[in-house]
């Protein structure tokens, strides 16, 4: 029953999406107000049907309806309730359905916030066509409602995904990815109409910031989740799937800054429009890469070349069509010829740095494929490469970020900028010196010096430009977190028996005992530790080793004592005997600053949107 209803909703949604896509385009061509007006109801209808399909799939999971193949492969009768809800997006088919759902949610948001927008029908049309393509992909190659073959008892959800972090990370990440489809549609609609004005720049920028906030949140959550679940204390691995999420983030950041320029001065229109198209293209590319199976990654979906081809064609058609429209309209996109002002130059430099960083990561991620295609063998491009290559780019970015608030929107002498900043520069150099004198690594010194430079530069702008102030502060805090945690952290691997103590940093870890533990779909061993510092009790930590019975997978469950200034992290390694365990301990100072910085960046984005709304209202009342 659910199967049939689900398939029907999706099929009807497909039809509505097609109509939503084609009718307004036709209406725009023929200036027919009726077909143009059809955009909104069809969009809302499609949203309703997709929501119904999604809810039906969720119900199937909650009821453990194993007649549906997708449910059987990703759930089990003993799977806890919360994970049954979220297992809906645990594998390929469901995650595409989530993608489509969120695309329609963003469409709804656009309808709600941009009722007056004259381009509304065209934007909805483009979003409709994107949704139509993905619905085709879903129904033709990745049907979540496909019937199971033979009776099933359920394969359970991958234990790595049975974690609170998993509950929220994919939806937030997808909200980010899919959010750029709105800026894509807005830009493409404006290009089709042939009019890219300040209003376009403003609307595109607001939606870009919103999408960027979600994407930042998604990436931060992914990093935090990896830290908690993978058991090695790492928070970023330059894994191809992680890189795939970083690419739209970098170009999204460039987009936000460039649109500010276009909005304020009307220049760099062609570049902003191109960035808007590129952001979504990168989202699509990321979606493809992750599911294609062509790269080695810890995040794997079950791969089928036929699905990959469909997705690749979808991606190719969308991007080529957009590029075609862009190139046709390019001659008309000339910006007014004005002499550059300092703020403009610095925003363009920022663009360059971010896009070069994005292209570098793209090249590094695809390089093994290029090598293989040219029959040069197998090569790995891993963390050491990316860390080395990104360092100078990030440092340059930070240097530029610090100067930005002092660069005016009018013509300004370089001398004036220097007047405003030289004292702060000296202060930061002093900080760097102090750090180097502490025998800390060179890189740590420079990065922290530059982070302080950013903090000092936005110090007085919190009232006039809270968006920029908080975002830049967040980035500085983020970098401080990374540099301090990597240069100050210590780890230790020891073999312990109950009753033995080991020391890491200023903390003593006493191995108390082990006990059996079990949950609805796993059993395991829990080791209890007491942590003390100078004989003062700090916390009890209990890492576990679990076996998830259905999939026969062994999982290490880490225990962490978080704190603003340091994390204590403990994981069980291999058992040597009855109670003799290999234990890994990590002392990680300032690691929470990484995610705190991310949250500050998101706060900055939200404040930016709010400030813009306030300004709009002021303009209306003026």
């Amino acid at each position: 029953m659910i199967q049939l209803a689900g398939q029907l909703s999706l099929s009807f949604a497909l039809m509505l999406a097609l109509l939503q896509g084609l009718l307004p385009l036709w209406g725009s061509y023929r200036d027919n107000p009726y077909t143009l007006a059809a955009a909104r109801p069809f969009a809302l209808g499609q949203l309703a049907l997709v929501v119904i399909a999604y809810v039906l799939l969720t119900i199937a999971f909650l009821n453990s309806d194993f007649m549906i193949a997708y449910v059987a492969e990703n759930s089990h009768a003993s799977l806890p309730f919360m994970y049954r809800l979220t297992a809906v997006w645990g594998a390929h088919e469901g995650s595409i359905l989530l993608w489509i759902l969120l695309l329609n949610v963003w469409t709804l948001l656009f309808i709600l916030f941009e009722k007056q927008n004259s381009n509304l029908p065209l934007v909805l049309a483009i979003l409709g066509l994107i949704s139509f393509s993905f619905l085709c992909f879903l129904l033709l190659t990745s049907n979540p409602f496909a019937a199971a073959v033979g009776p099933q008892t359920g394969h359970d959800l991958n234990p790595l995904l049975q974690d609170p972090g998993f509950v929220i990370h994919p939806p937030m990440l997808y909200m980010g990815y899919v959010g750029f489809s709105v800026t894509f549609a807005i830009t493409l609609a404006a290009l089709i109409r042939g009019r890219l004005d300040a209003n376009w720049a403003n609307v595109a920028r607001q939606f870009a910031i919103a999408a960027w906030c979600f994407l930042t949140l998604g990436i931060m959550l992914g990093s935090w989740w990896a830290y908690r679940v993978l058991g090695w204390g790492g928070f970023w691995f330059w894994d191809p799937v992680e890189n795939a999420s970083l690419l739209p983030w970098l170009s999204g950041t460039a987009l936000i800054h460039t649109l500010a320029l276009t909005e304020k001065r009307g220049t760099a229109k062609a570049w902003s429009a191109l960035l808007a198209l590129i952001c979504f293209a990168l989202s699509l590319l990321g979606t493809f890469l992750v599911r294609s199976g062509v790269l080695i990654s810890a995040h794997t979906f079950a791969n089928d070349p036929k699905r990959g081809v469909f997705l690749l064609l979808l991606l190719a058609i969308l991007i080529c069509a957009a590029l075609f429209v862009y190139l046709i309209r390019l001659p008309q996109l000339s910006s007014p010829q004005k002499p550059f002002v300092p703020r403009e130059i610095i925003l363009l430099v920022n663009s360059i740095l971010l896009i070069v960083a994005m292209l570098t990561i793209l090249l590094g991620t695809l390089y093994p494929l290029i090598f293989d295609a040219l029959h040069l063998g197998a090569i790995s491009v891993g963390a050491p490469y990316f860390n080395l290559v990104m360092a100078p780019l990030v440092l340059l970015m930070m240097l530029v970020m610090g100067f930005a608030p002092f660069c005016a929107w009018q013509s300004q002498l370089v001398k004036r900028i220097w007047q405003l900043t030289w004292r702060k520069c000296c202060f930061c150099l002093l900080i760097m010196l102090i750090i180097w004198l502490q025998r800390m690594p060179f890189m740590t010194g420079i990065s922290i010096g530059l982070s302080v430079w950013i903090l000092v530069s936005v110090m007085s702008t919190f009232r006039i430009a809270p968006g920029m102030a908080f975002s830049h502060t967040g980035f500085a805090v983020f970098i401080i977190g990374i540099m301090l945690s990597s240069s100050l952290s210590t780890e230790k691997e020891v073999r312990l028996k109950p009753g033995q103590t080991t020391i890491i940093g200023p903390y003593q870890f006493l191995f108390i005992d082990t006990e059996g533990t079990s949950g609805s779909n796993f059993r395991g061993i829990r080791a209890n530790f007491e942590v003390t510092k100078h004989n003062r009790h700090i916390v009890n930590l209990s890492p576990e080793k679990r076996i998830y019975t259905v999939r026969h997978m062994v999982m290490t469950k880490v225990d962490i004592h978080p704190s603003i200034f340091r994390d204590l992290y403990i994981a069980l390694g291999e058992p040597y005997g009855q109670d003799d365990w290999s234990v890994r301990l990590y002392y990680k100072p300032f690691i929470r600053w990484i995610w705190a910085g991310g949250l500050l960046m998101i706060l900055g984005g939200i404040l930016g949107i709010i400030q813009n709304k306030k300004r709009e209202e002021q303009n209306i009342h003026a």
Partner: protein
């Protein structure tokens, strides 16, 4: 002037074509988790292993000279090796290709017991207790099978279970081609 404009227009599409072509090709041909062996075309790296059944007899690469043979790295504790055992017997009995073995990190007793249970397709077995020879061969899992030519050069490496399909599609045609050369 017009041609330059046209070219500029086409350039981004050419770039996209290259990108999508690359991705499309790799979709079908990429095996990212199974990198090809770097020893292909080179002589089998020198080793000297005691034979499993009579440790005084030494198994060295000299054994490969003058014939086309297979070198199979296996272990009694490896489930997949059990699965491919019948195929190896077939290669020995039906196709008459000599199969040599390296027992990877296997105790002699366990290996011998396994051979009694599953049959012994090997002309000679080297006992690689520490796994050093396997490392020299670039082996990273069991089973792996190498095709070795008359000069003792590695021609091909097959990763995983050697089944009838892999034999028919790749290894047997390769061996037949080698047999035709230079006789």
């Amino acid at each position: 002037m017009l041609d330059l404009q046209r070219l500029k227009l086409f350039l981004p599409f050419l770039f996209l074509l290259a990108l999508f072509g690359l991705l499309g090709r790799e979709l079908f041909y990429a095996t990212p988790n199974e990198p090809p062996s770097v020893l292909i075309g080179e002589a089998v790296p020198h080793f000297q292993l005691p034979s499993l059944f009579s440790p005084s007899i030494l198994f060295t690469p000299k054994t490969f000279h003058g014939q086309i043979s297979l070198l199979n790295v296996w272990a009694s504790w490896c489930y997949a090796c059990q699965v491919e055992a019948p195929m190896l017997m077939k290669i020995k009995d039906q196709y008459h290709i000599p199969v040599y073995g390296i027992a990877y990190k296997d105790k002699a007793e366990d290996a011998k017991q396994w051979l009694q249970a599953h049959g012994n397709p090997y002309a000679l077995i080297g006992s690689d207790l520490k796994g050093d020879v396997a490392i020299d061969l670039g082996v990273y899992g069991t089973p792996e099978t190498f095709v070795i030519d008359r000069q003792g050069k590695i021609i091909y490496r097959h990763i995983g279970v050697l089944d009838q399909k892999a034999w028919d599609d790749v290894l047997h045609p390769l061996i037949q081609q080698l047999q035709k050369e230079k006789l």
